[in-house]
Symmetry: C4
Subunit: 496 residues, 4 copies
């Protein structure tokens, strides 16, 4: 049943769990039956039952979401938007301050390193968007250790090497690229920028950098593919759906669209608890304490939990051959965290692994990728299998010196995620490009200063990684510490 | 001699050490002879000599105390309470602020982890109650290291394990339980909640969690037993009285009431000095400094000292066979702190040990239970005796990841104490239940993320505990640091 | 030449380096020739040339100083003090605040540990006195590490030991004493208390504790001997004078007065630079910067430098036999800092050594006594010479648990200095006695909790000292940190 | 073409990249063709196109710069300075505050150690000058670790050594000197003092200390040579120019002027990124963010980048024989950072190396010189080549105890740079001399306290350097921490 033109009052009649309609981009949808299936929980939808949900919907759903997941029969038709009045919200002092910060944003040229973008983004992003991007699991110890781990690795530079010409290009999974990092997959790009992930695509093109397309992008997969130019290379990051037909379609469609590698996420059978994100989403509706007696954990747990249902927790080593059977793309396991599993990956015949803890968003006190790398390579070398697959790391990379350290320790390349999101959120595409250029400038300088004119010259005698497992970094990293937003206890309702 | 109805004036005549009467719940008691025996010292009683002491008495004595410890002849009879005027106390700014905090308490759903309850409890608890619960020995180094020790142990997660179904149930001392933690014994529950330990009993029942009943509960033992439902399991924590007949009665009564295990506290031949607690209790009565010349340490040392006399400091390994002779309950030694004593415990034939430093309340710079565990298990395995007894730890557990680490290192389960007291003090039974539910949610997530569908799948290859003995934890645990109440120097009488 | 009664005007004529008279306790002295010999430099005397210097003189010189070191012919006679007008000083805001602090001093019973006395003393002591007592060499790293070193040693307590009766008495250098610590020698006691070191003597007597008499006491040696009672034991600390006859007299006089042991200070061939002390003494007299061009370091370097000349920097191992030849007292070398020198001390046949860095006042980044002890004992044991001499340590001891750790590691006893000075400065003799009582209370508790009923039961299996040389103490010692007075940069003349 | 007397208006006609004239010291220069060659980039010159650039020019160019690098034909002649009006700048609150600080500068005698000069300099130096001197690479971790590394090395002092006479003189590269440190080369001395490097020359003479003359001095090389007196020793620090004829001229001229050693900088094929310096130079000219899209990194990168082009990045081991062929001066490689390169230096037959990371200004997380030294000497000794060349270190030296540690570990001497710049900037020559005197006083004291009457007595048993590679320094160095100026994020344009 499709109405020609619905009014606000007609929609408002469907404002309960029994009959729940919402308006998205001027169209009404009956989501009553979908409530229980919604990955983000029903509560968040019910908040908009009978109302316009576009503003909330947009940044966290690709435009093709409703077509894909809601049966045509539930598309209730056009709404006469002149009948819909916008709710006037109470002035939010945080939002007022944020608008001031946006107006007084530092000139882009003042950003001298990747942490500078984070400092700007913290002020100019919406509170919930910042919380979603910046949060990590539990006490955010892994989140922070990912960065500080690099400071526990010290250089052993060579001098008097001819470093006039520096060539930082390399080959990753068979593709030549300008510098050994790639834009790794991160979800919900539109939280930071209205155009979403395509901003990263365009910047990556201009810098000849590989982009990994996230399953949980705000843009649709095709939008991101369409945004690429020339011979630009993209990879696909995959959350494996319980329904393998859906997975197969995603994978084969990506291959058809030219993706060169498939990164299967293996560290997220369930999404981690990110309390900063949960807290940013919480709205105090005056519920009395008593009514919570015995109730299970509240489901309105921020954006992080809002994307958890489409991931199959039963995914196992047994599934790998099937992936090899459905695609010719290179296959890489993203999120491997122990040398035993790197060896298993070798045996399973995949093309690579990403040593990663998912940006500190999953299991807190999991070690950083760079620490796992330092522990892993000596064992692979001992077994003579260090060249059987390519090893990548991600997490905490903020300087080209971090990239150099990873390569010295045996990585083929590194993934960088949040810094580009922050640069995009603060300055759009010019921000992302400046971030990439800064990394190139730093990389050229670092390769000169360490005495390695090409990537092939980097080796493990150039670093002292003995301290990486000691977890002691006494020299304070002042930029990173001031950019970090500490966890806080629950707020009392009225401040004293 | 029992008076029918005494007046305030009659009681007031007995207001010295020579004749000391107090009113408790409308009845008068002659405690003159008891003064010297009072575990909390005579001073605290003499403060109420000739007056109503009910308010001070209640939270730290079970209701059956006077019947048990004061001869009938000293029960002087009913008091006509209309003759007793309540002392009007000067307004206490701390107390006024506390009342404001209670009114503006955060919604329970805002507590996302166990440390959040502590942050709320710190504001809404009475100053002395908070000091009693939160304090530790000396400089509180062990108190804090108990928690941070877990952050020195890093995970080595397995990926691509089918973790769709998670079973976190286990068996502790022969009893099946829903999750491998128990509510450990903590004293004086009524300091935090007017109903005391039975609140924990009820919450434990709803979550199928085992409760250990403390010797020094504010509720009587029978009240706590009476509060249990269905097949709910309780254990008994025992401070051994010098008078072994009393001890025997306690033990055999507990067994009769259904307790399944006896945890003999072995780390408290004397109660530790807890200066935060002492300071909170101090009242400046204008004593001149000179009069203290040569005097020994003041006895009004806070609630901690108030419970110390009923514990036999001569308890030794020689006493263990006797305990085995008087009960069929499982016997566990609580407070073992070195591998040599775990081996002795094996030889003594007990059923288990708790590696514990008494929540950091006894000997400062004693190591944490988890550190002792990591040092102990390899030695037990070397000797092939790791299965001769069950090993528990307590102290500092705040996350399910802490529980997982303990189990990976060989523990059967962990005890959690203060967090439930804080949850109870801040939110009553719903608070305790939410705390338990949060641990279950975290546990399920952690087991998925570490790749262990059942408790049996947890093993020592899943953790890197090399750093636990290094005592270096550079990533700040911001929640715990902000919840911690630092020790302070004595206050000058008038602030400048 | 001695005048019957001098006037202020007559004295004032001798106010230059050419003729310099000062008034001390109503008498005039001609110190012209002594100027160049004054251990504290001539500048400090010239400041009082022609004036009354009593107030400055008193706290840093024993009453017999002038008789001992200034020839009779320079004693110029009585001054008619009615002719001397007291200089009116400008109100010093620090001093005004200090007087307020003195009035509002916390009750003595509020001091629960030795650091509490330090916190009080910091507020109630004169600025220069506090600076002299509290300062250390250079960056005060050793000063602070002395204390924190103990926190890097962890206990391994035994349980189920009968600890009903605790005997903490022991024998040090042949003398039975109530507890294994002694009051170590510290200079200039009258800076903290008008009566000086005899306050410590009296308190030591009441607690049956041994006192070491300092060479640089504010009281005369005989005053301190005279203050002892009964069988009270005293030792002598000795700075060796270049003039060995003087040294011989001091030593033999001490033996005659009953001293039982001679502690020869070997770590102070020159007194260390203590910048906090220097800064506290500095008075800006408006000297222009230019005039300092090329001038060597200013000599008015605070109290620390004021006592440096009477120490022979050529003292060496060759001198030890001579000491043995002039006295029958036990001989102990105070300030040994490496195992090689402990072995030399064995070979030299002395009775003991004190592993000490002089309270962090000499060579900064010298290790703490407890760290040296942990490194030394295994080597002595390997050579089988661990019982050839007694080993003491001092520096940083603030808790009885520190004493226990030292004894477990092989020390016979420990010296405690500053804490008693602070207790004396803040509360006089009652303060010192309370400090001693607190240590006894803590000691009894610690011995119970570690499972050692007697001193002989303490051994090296009861501590884990592996971390002491790692210099990592992440758990903040909040009391000590707040009591510490950090070094500061030079102050600009007018604050902006 | 040379004008007799130009007017301001005539110069102003050449104010673009097409025709760019500037006035320096009353003379006009046509720098149009030079714009692209300017090491500091064209932007900084164009800012002054058609204007008087003297004030900006002076502190960063030696007076002979224009004669050396600009063809005579571009010297356009005298300017009638009466026609040139000085631009009035807006009042800068930082500058106003600075003038206040200069007026209230602490008396020189109040500076008790080298860090004190830094604290004063931070307040009295121009913002950009301070930023240039104090900045380091990237996160300034190496910058700070250079200093704190010394605190991870502990002394093992000998006692009872006759230390009456201390001789701290030594021989460095064949020259006798009063103390084993030299004034190392630092660029742009006139940023700190109007007279520049000659101030250091004069102070060095008065203290019989060797000075290393920097290639990038603000004074000309000859000015610095002319300033020396008597037998004063100077060395030359060399940045190697791509044009080897220029290099040869510099080297042979230096030898002719009496320089005794040539220190070839090998750690700066490219100058590091010093963000604090870049930020201090940034001027917000209201550029819109959009216009930066895709643009490469801005070139106005502060003083650090302004001196980078004259250094040949192709310099390699192959060049060493050529240096030996053109000079008889001793040759030392400055900036060696790994033992492998020390061995290569031996093989290349040079006279020495400086283990250095260029004051933390080049590659961040490069280890400190003292750490490299501790790792290097055991390997050289193993190979028996420890005496084949002299080893120096620089970086982070602030105390004579740091010098002692380096010598114990095998260094012949140490270089000190920034501290003398700070002393000079704060107090001129008297400041530098006081700094040198303080080091001598400390050195004498330290040698006494460690038990080493001569430099030859220092050896590796006197230090415990096990911890230097552990990077853990928990005792806070309060002076250094308060003197340190932390990195900051970009500033928002208007503060909220």
């Amino acid at each position: 049943m499709v109405n020609a033109s619905l009014t606000s009052d007609e929609i408002a009649e469907h404002s309960s769990a029994k009959s729940c309609w919402v308006i998205i981009h001027g169209k009404a949808y009956d989501v009553t039956e979908f409530l229980s299936e919604h990955p983000g929980g029903s509560k968040i939808i019910l908040k908009y039952a009978g109302k316009d949900a576009t503003e909330e919907f947009d940044p966290i759903h690709p435009p093709d979401t409703l077509d894909k997941y809601l049966d045509r029969s539930k598309h209730m038709g056009e709404v006469d938007m002149s009948t819909v009045t916008t709710e006037v919200r109470a002035a939010d002092p945080f939002e007022t301050e944020r608008q001031e910060y946006i107006k007084s944003r530092p000139p882009l040229e003042q950003c001298y390193n990747l942490l500078d973008f984070e400092a700007v983004a913290k002020r100019v992003m919406k509170k919930t968007a910042w919380a979603y991007y910046s949060s990590g699991a539990d006490d955010e110890i892994t989140l922070r250790d990912n960065h500080s781990a690099f400071h526990r690795i010290w250089f052993r530079p060579k001098v008097l090497v001819d470093v006039e010409k520096i060539d930082m290009s390399t080959t990753m999974l068979g593709t030549k690229t300008s510098i050994p990092f790639y834009v790794t997959a991160t979800a919900l790009g539109k939280l930071g920028h209205s155009e979403g992930e395509v901003v990263l695509t365009k910047a990556a093109h201009n810098h000849n950098v590989i982009q990994m397309i996230p399953t949980l992008a705000s843009c649709s997969f095709d939008e991101i593919c369409d945004a690429k130019s020339g011979n630009q290379i993209q990879w696909l990051q995959l959350y494996v759906n319980k329904n393998r037909d859906i997975t197969k379609n995603i994978v084969q469609h990506a291959e058809k669209r030219g993706c060169k590698a498939l990164f299967i996420t293996v560290d997220a059978p369930q999404l981690g608890r990110r309390e900063k994100d949960m807290r940013s989403k919480f709205e105090d509706n005056g519920t009395s304490v008593q009514s919570n007696s015995g109730e299970s954990v509240d489901r309105s747990q921020g954006a992080a939990r809002a994307i958890s249902s489409f991931i199959d927790p039963s995914l196992s080593w047994k599934d790998i051959p099937w992936f090899k059977s459905i695609t010719n793309m290179k296959i890489v396991l993203k999120g491997v965290q122990r040398v035993e599993d790197v060896i298993k990956a070798c045996e399973a015949g995949v093309d690579g692994v990403v040593l990663s803890n998912h940006g500190g968003r999953q299991l807190d006190t999991a070690p950083s990728g760079i620490e796992i790398l330092a522990a892993t390579m000596p064992i692979l070398k001992e077994r003579g299998i260090q060249n059987k697959l390519e090893i990548y790391i991600d997490g905490g990379v903020r300087r080209a010196s971090d990239i150099v350290k990873a390569l010295c320790l045996g990585a083929t390349g590194v993934g960088i995620g949040r810094p580009f999101l922050y640069a995009m959120s603060a300055y759009g595409q010019p921000g992302v490009e400046r971030a990439m250029q800064l990394l190139k400038d730093e990389m050229e300088m670092n390769m000169r200063l360490i005495g390695a004119p090409t990537i092939a010259d980097l080796n493990d005698t150039m670093v002292d990684a003995r301290g990486v497992a000691l977890h002691s970094t006494p020299i304070k990293d002042t930029l990173s510490i001031s950019a970090y937003d500490p966890l806080v206890a629950p707020a009392f309702r009225s401040k004293l």
